[in-house]
Amino acid sequence: MANMKDMIPAFDLVQPTTVEDAVDLMKDAGDEGWVLAGGLDTFDWFKDRIKRPRVVIDIGGIEEMRGFRDEAGGIEIGAMTTLTEVANHARVRSEFGVLATAAEHVATPQIRNQGTLGGNITQDTRCWYYRSGWPCYRAGGNVCYASAPLAMNREHCILGRSRCVAVNPSDTAPALIALDAKMVVQSPRRRLYDAEDYFIGPSVDITRMTVLEPGDLLTQVFVPAFWANSNFYFEKVRDRGSWDFQLVSVAAAFRMSGSTIEDARIAVNGVAPYPVRLDAVERLVRGEAASESLQNAAGELAIQGTRALRHNDYKIVMMRNLVRRAVRSVAA
């Protein structure tokens, strides 16, 4: 079969207007179904003619999955809310700034206008071996091309590898982990996941990035008020100022008491097949002032257990430096 790209293969399109119907349609479609949210990840797969679902379930018409709902304990954001809406939302900006900042760092304005929060956190990895349609482990094959001795793996992982060395590309994912957000999944049973548990590594299932299995739909993201108005830090290192995914990014929330870090949540992305929450670093900084020595210790602790592939040793120092900077951001 000869290689062909750039034309979307035919599919049937269904456009449900309620979560219930969407889940129902997904169940019917099973493995042959595909959920279309913002479409930025989807159309890439389709245009490369690698993913060829028979049925595409466009969830863009489900109003209950859009927008913000203020709740006593926090704010609920529909998974289909666009990243622009997230970045511009007054309460998100004022109370959960790290999420707004992360959303602002996604790709480009047009992508943010169309891309959704749910899509951003649920998107597939951009490992170029995998995305080229090569039959790697993640694609159901029996090899990881990206970790071969001479492979091109500058943008691959330094942590959490298990046969697959891809990284999670999401900008908002680490921010949501820093905010201790909860993911609401409907299938049709409704489940709640802590943000960091929503993402899974290849050792759990090498073909998926998140807990979502066929038939599961991420409907809302709930951001609890607990971390509202904390001191936030977000930084994303990338090659170009636009479009590019992170090389390494960090998102952090600090609750301060004077110059002492009372509590912290720190997550990095671009370093593992899933966004990594740095619990050990959080424990280290808790109850301390963000002195230079603490910044350095946090950085060093963060990179414990990292292991570079041929081309991505730099990520270790970049990750260390970003964690340092995150802690430095609350220095007196």
Binding site: A2, N3, D6, A151, M152, V237, R240, N312, Y314, L322
Partner: protein, 797 residues
């Protein structure tokens, strides 16, 4: 007084079409019954097609026909064919399929079963030079028209030198030239700088992929093409299809950039006409970005060694340069140009050049804006700074000292230039940049950010001679200028008419530019490349305008009395001792007079290609038509001095370009805003080359991964400098009547140089001496981490 046109900003006449959606690029044309064509690209970097089973494809609904390599011309040697049964790179077109819709094309191509025999392939040219390294062709790795194929390798001893980080001394270099006495030059030197250099290949990626639409009507081809040039591309297409050029209606009104990749059109533009001829239907070949990555050309990468000697006063006394070039499967000439430009930019007097152009199984290479020059200026400028540092010299002073004057001859034949204002450009730029104060900021640290100052000098060809101009003043009193050059966005179609219109004393609203459609007449023109056009066609049009002026005066004198020389033109009138006439009257008179006045007789020295174009307008008004016989001696080169300030974050390796200043020697400035845009645009392209654009292959399968925009990473608006300024020396070139030279090319090398030098400066003078300088390399270098690949490895990242 008619308005002044030269040196004045204006909105180009095609701009309104461009921003209202009316501008039609090749893929915007439609024809009744139009069908689509798509290419089947080779999945392997080098293979032989043993068999093609298209039986399933032929049953795909909407399928029309297939075109195989056997149906197109197969040139001998390392020359590209439109389709091939021995692909030399992953992505080379094997066959073409026509179908009623693109979906059907895609389905049919997918249904084709290929039987391919994989063949050895080489990606990194240096690997191809290893004693047992692979060759890009089964027949060898060198080709000459006389001797055919042969194999050229270095020895293990050569590679021992390479691996030890030294410049090897291989026997029988493929290209070699020397000038002066290099030994003496180095003996004279106080400081010798030697570096190994890697410059990556870079895909052109113009915004518009090279689509073509074509149909035949009564034996006449109508072709809608994406090309930089127009008249010359039409001739190229006529040659490729073996048809009379006059049997082609060639349309290329707008082209979405080319940067050297569409100079005389391109190989694959003739496929749609061929397919259309085969199936008898109009054919749209919509080229996608993915295909563009493969068939769209790339700048050749270099692996090089440079050794430069400097006297205690900073004068460069010797250059020993050696370049291994990634020539792709079909060759490229960048390395030769690079050697000449190294010589003219740093004027060592004593130089040796050894070149090793190597075929590789990577997408084809072609000229890319400042070919050769952009690579070498970007890579050698940090070495100049190293010398300045070691000699404790000012970085600007050492450049001014080494910059050429018009006396210096370039290359082995010491070619002289028509004008050289490099030193003036450097001084002008320094003033504009406030160099004296800005250089004080070099190395200054603010938190994790360090300031780096970049500066560089770059040059490239900027003109050519001998083309034809064609224009008609019609009875409506307007001047119609017929342009055979292309319209790829440089504004040349109108810029080159402005000096002519000014000569004829016309206001701009009295001038109509006709371009992009051969049925309206295209005189013999230069290819739109090498920054020739502003020079070449302001001259050609000027010659035609002089011809028109002569005729206007003659008619006026005839009509109104007096001596023709006493008549002058202004505001669309000719005035003199006998009174005045409008151009409308002159045009009518010219038609009545016939002969040379309305083009019935043409000058004998016109190019044969101009004659049919002129004949289309015979009798429509007063014709100005002439060949550029202004003559001149020497190369036509323009110069760009560049200054910049960056802030490098030493913890992340990211940097921001705060300021960019360009100072240029282009002779007379024809269109300031356009010139500024060329300076900035080229510079940002060069900056993209230096900081982000890449070219990466999986070594196992020979497949490129930077095969789309987000992985190839051309610079975005966020990567552009925060503030920019430009100025021009403005001294006219003495050998051309308009005084103007082109500028498109040198800005790329300048932009690259400003970043390579600024980053090295921010890193305390450390030169990574490779591109692209991405955050990973910078942060790893700053943290003392080892380079993850061989010092000279190519196609990694």
């Amino acid at each position: 007084m008619a308005e002044k046109l030269v040196g004045v900003n204006y909105a180009p006449p095609d701009l309104r079409a461009k921003i209202t959606g009316r501008a039609r690029y090749a893929e915007d044309f439609r024809a009744q019954g139009m069908v689509f064509m798509k290419l089947l690209l080779s999945p392997m970097p080098h293979c032989r097609v043993r068999g093609v089973d298209d039986s399933r494809a032929r049953r795909v609904p909407g399928f029309i026909d297939i075109m195989r390599a056997s149906e197109v011309n197969q040139p001998e040697g390392p020359t590209e064919a439109m389709l091939t049964d021995e692909p030399k790179y992953e992505g080379e077109p094997i066959l073409a399929v026509a179908a009623e819709s693109e979906e059907a094309c895609a389905a049919a191509i997918e249904a084709i079963e290929l039987d391919l025999e994989p063949l050895p392939f080489v990606l990194d040219p240096l690997q191809g030079l290893r004693p047992n390294g692979p060759n890009a062709y089964t027949e060898g790795n060198q080709f000459s028209g006389q001797d055919g194929w042969s194999t050229y390798k270095w020895t293990d001893a050569d590679f021992a030198e390479v691996d030890a980080g030294r410049m090897p001394n291989p026997a029988n270099p493929l290209v070699e030239w020397t000038k002066g006495d290099i030994e003496a030059g180095f003996a004279e030197a106080t400081v010798i700088i030697e570096e190994a250099i890697v410059h990556q290949s870079v895909t052109h990626h113009p915004m518009e992929p090279r689509s073509t639409m074509a149909y035949w009507e009564n034996g006449r081809l109508h072709a809608f093409v994406s090309t930089q040039s127009a008249q010359r591309t039409k001739m190229g297409m006529a040659g490729a299809l073996e048809v009379d050029p006059e049997e082609i209606t060639f349309v290329s009104e707008f082209t979405g950039g080319g940067f050297g990749s569409k100079i005389p059109g391109h190989t694959h533009m003739s496929l749609a006409p061929l397919m259309s001829r085969k199936i008898g239907r109009p054919v749209m070949h919509r080229v996608t970005r993915y295909e563009e990555n493969y068939i769209g050309r790339a700048r050749p990468g270099f692996q090089a060694w440079a050794k430069m000697g400097f006297r205690a006063d900073g004068k460069c006394t010797a250059i020993d340069l050696m370049i291994v070039q990634d020539s792709g499967p079909y060759g490229a000439g960048d390395h030769n140009t690079a050697s000449n430009i190294a010589d003219i930019t740093y004027t060592p007097g004593n130089m040796r050049y050894r070149g090793f152009p190597m075929y590789t199984n990577t997408p084809p290479k072609a000229a890319q804006r400042g070919p050769g020059g952009a690579q070498i200026n970007g890579m050698l400028e940090p070495l100049i700074d190293q010398a300045a540092r070691e000699l404790n010299m000012d970085r600007l002073a050492i450049r001014i000292l080494n910059a050429p004057t018009v006396e210096y001859g370039m290359g082995p034949r010491s070619q002289r230039m028509t004008s050289t204002r490099a030193k003036e450009a450097l001084r002008l730029g320094a003033e504009l940049f406030d160099y004296e104060n800005k250089i004080q900021l070099s190395g200054q640290r603010n938190g994790s950010k360090v300031t780096g100052i970049g500066l560089g000098l770059s040059t490239y060809t900027a003109g050519s001679r001998g083309y034809d101009g064609l224009m008609v003043i019609r009875p409506d009193g307007k001047l119609y200028v017929y342009q055979g050059i292309g319209n790829l966005g440089t504004h040349s179609i109108s810029d080159t008419a402005r000096p002519a219109a000014e000569l004829l004393g016309l206001n701009w609203d009295q001038v109509e530019i006709i371009w992009g459609d051969s049925s309206r007449g295209m005189p013999n023109s230069s290819v739109q490349a090498g920054s020739q056009t502003t020079h070449a066609h302001s001259r050609a049009n000027y010659a035609a305008a002089q011809d028109a002026l002569r005729k206007i005066r003659a008619i006026a004198a005839r009509q109104l009395g007096g001596n023709a020389n006493q008549y002058r033109v202004d505001n669309g009138r000719v005035l003199g001792p006998g009174g005045s006439m409008t151009f409308a009257q002159v045009a009518q008179r010219a038609i009545a007079l016939g002969g040379e006045y309305d083009g019935h007789t043409l000058p004998g020295d016109l190019n044969a290609a101009t004659v049919p174009a002129a004949n289309m307008h015979v009798g429509t008004g007063l014709m100005g038509v002439a060949r550029d016989n202004f003559g001149g001696e020497g190369g036509i080169y323009s110069w760009l001095a560049v200054f910049g300030l960056i802030e490098l974050d030493v913890e992340t390796g990211q940097f921001e370009t705060k300021e960019l200043v360009c100072a240029t020697d282009v002779g007379t400035v024809v269109h300031p805003r356009s010139l500024g845009a060329q300076c900035y645009g080229g510079a940002i392209q060069g900056m993209g080359m230096a900081m982000s654009q890449r070219w990466v292959f999986d070594p196992q399968y020979g497949v490129p991964f930077a095969n789309r925009l987000y992985t190839a990473r051309p610079p975005s608006i966020m990567d552009a400098p925060r503030s920019m300024a430009w100025d021009a020396v403005g001294i006219p070139d003495p050998q051309t009547p308009t005084g103007a030279k082109g500028i498109g090319e040198p800005s790329v090398g300048a932009g690259s140089a400003v970043l390579t030098t600024a980053i090295a400066d921010a890193m305390g003078g450390r030169c990574l001496c490779r591109t692209p300088l991405t955050p990973d390399l910078i942060v790893a270098e700053l943290e003392g981490r080892p380079l993850p690949f061989g010092r000279l490895d190519q196609h990694v990242g």
